[in-house]
Symmetry: C2
Subunit: 479 residues, 2 copies
Amino acid sequence: MSNKKEFVKEIANIDEDFTQWYTDVVLKAELADYTEVKGFVAIRPYGYAIWEKIQEYTDKKFKEHGVKNVSMPLLIPENLLNKEKQHVEGFAPEVAWVTVGGEEKLEERMCIRPTSETLFSTMYSKWLNSWRDLPYLYNQWCSVLRWEKETRPFLRSREFLWQEGHTIHETAEEAKQFTRDILDIYVDVVENLLAIPSIKGRKTEKEQFAGTEATYTVETLTHDGRALQSGTSHYLGQNFTTPFDVKFQNRDGEQEYAYQTSWGISTRLIGAVIMSHGDNRGLKLPPKVAPIQAVIVPIAQQKGNVLEVAEKLKEKLSKKFRIELDKRDNYTVGYKFNEWEMKGVPVRIEFGPKEIENGEVILSRRDNFEKITVKLEEIEENLEKLLEDIQQSMYNSCKKRMEEKTTIAYNMEELERNLNENQGFVKTMWCGSRECEDKVKERTGAPSRCMPFEQEHLSDTCVCCGKKAEKMVVWGKQY
Amino acid sequence: MSNKKEFVKEIANIDEDFTQWYTDVVLKAELADYTEVKGFVAIRPYGYAIWEKIQEYTDKKFKEHGVKNVSMPLLIPENLLNKEKQHVEGFAPEVAWVTVGGEEKLEERMCIRPTSETLFSTMYSKWLNSWRDLPYLYNQWCSVLRWEKETRPFLRSREFLWQEGHTIHETAEEAKQFTRDILDIYVDVVENLLAIPSIKGRKTEKEQFAGTEATYTVETLTHDGRALQSGTSHYLGQNFTTPFDVKFQNRDGEQEYAYQTSWGISTRLIGAVIMSHGDNRGLKLPPKVAPIQAVIVPIAQQKGNVLEVAEKLKEKLSKKFRIELDKRDNYTVGYKFNEWEMKGVPVRIEFGPKEIENGEVILSRRDNFEKITVKLEEIEENLEKLLEDIQQSMYNSCKKRMEEKTTIAYNMEELERNLNENQGFVKTMWCGSRECEDKVKERTGAPSRCMPFEQEHLSDTCVCCGKKAEKMVVWGKQY
């Protein structure tokens, strides 16, 4: 035993230093690593496998909605970026510029896409003729660059992986409906795949995307009560189709500008999973998105037929589940337990000579550390049930936390106190003015998250100015 | 009928102007389109769906070989690119440089990756400790940039989509074997998925990748007899691991540099499919990679229950095949036939009131235009058999063409004549000198394609200098 590694290294305490805890988990669970390119990370196999599960789930839903994948250029000439005024103001300060190509200075510099509304609009302008061609429902899976000053793996990187959907429609109504349909897909991904409860609603004008008519958002809450924007869907109206001349002959034979949407989720969702579910042992993955759903760790694997049974079990279970067998002989069982807990594998399957003799195995849950002993021949049904149960329990416990951390405030004192003491979401009434929104942000540090679709009438007056309230808004500090 | 569009536009004759024919097919089959970014294309849904099929097939094979996907940064700082001498010489002249990020001039400029050996090597250096960690078998699906002067959609673009695999191993032997295993996957993709016969072999030193020990290649032949490099796998030895300090403690307790491979296929394969299989009606897709395997085109669809039968048939067949139903009412049947032929859909399913009455449908093959009439209730078995047969026939007819266009030359006159008259591959013996290779290129315009694994002894002397021959080489003009 002397030569074997004993324990994985410690991580920061989640309740004492959440920021450090997050970084520790990202690195020690081998999800991502820093690179020599400042602000850019390398996504390692275990992190990328989570992204692949998210892609697979989401791409299937998109395709069921008629969405088709395409690939647009990585670079955007400066004149294209400049065509939509709000858009360029929003993005120009944070893009990377290519000025030299193949040893020659470019006549016009080009930015690496921060998002591709401009390119899609240009191509739609070329392709669209008649109302019969509509809708175009296109999406691309790619990476984009935004030159952030402060970065953090998955949450805010200079480069991140995402999907960006861009559609054009015959009518405003159809485009608006599609924006909402996509938001429903995002809620489905966040809640059902990632087991994270959410609030969905519309962003205020201040917080919406540069160049949009309306931005809809899925907001989630982290372990320490911060808000995380987890997916957005924009109704762009004719804001881009007008300057980009995306028009079609309508049913009355007249030329009309098309109605547009765009929408995206990104690798930030991996950050949401870490921050929503993790604990002091590290990552905790919902079974549906876990690259490894159960890990077999044989005890005293050098004895008798332990390894042989383990191999057979792996083969059998792999037909239905994502299974890993850890038969490394240079690590102690204790080290392995710690490591797989750090990596958040939902179930550990343990057995040694004694269990084999009894025809049993032990199933150990990552989420609440409960252990159950089951008959070896009944392991499949039990594992299936257990994984479903873990998925649901993880959702429930996040939901409970979100409810506990969601409060109501009727005046600025309460709002400030709630945001500082309780963190979380705070609901208030709001008059709808930018002035009040700015004041709240200034005083509390919290921007508005959204105007939830599920509106409640908390009172008649704005939390800030006391004038007549128009909407219920949710506020929350963010990463 | 007066209002209906009659025929798709003409494309250039494949035997008179192959280059124009290629461009016409790319545009008119809606595979890709030019953009406002010079040298960059937009890959449209139909083209991208072919790429998705290639990805799906290939990614599965990679994973069966233990390969895991990751994501590395898009940008490479100049000092990293400069670390391996041959590599920087090969790539520096054709990269795009980012010099400004977020409104500030960068202290060190960065290039957009033309390939990522440098980034993978840097990370491997950070991660690798012991022989027990090896091998690392990583891959990424992404896009890369190379600032080409002359571009053509799919074949040579400033940006292209690809996968780049990068592995490190404990021994040279293992790395060499892995390089060859990957090449076998590429041959499988090209021959079995894309129905294109190939020659596989090793590149000469002159033609190999910048910074490699050995490059292995899959070479295919286009309709007009040009060679197309369709996939390459490189054994890099310790060329990168030494300057990048990728070392590990070996089994003897000593520090040793790891042995490396890299390998890639790209959207160029879509170009290979177009150029290998197409004809004067347009694209011709092998069933296994076709986004639509059969299209239902009802005749006289406004009559009786024609549309109803068509819808039911689509639903039934979609469980097993990729099916499209063309029920547009503003196009003639003739137009639809032409359009689906242009798009290369392997089988067209036709029927009208008469066929329905007889309980029959007509299956029309895209590859040889043969039609068969089958019972409606037996359509599934018939379609399955037909698709298999088309896949095999398409391979066979390419194979026949490749054999016809593969000749032998014993001296420079023959070599030049064969390359000019017959195009195709020309086999010769070769002394192994760079001088002779340069002379052949200069006189014929054809570089060497590879030294095939299946060597033949054609004669004792080099085709160029007449000295003792060392190897059989295949030559061919390329795109």
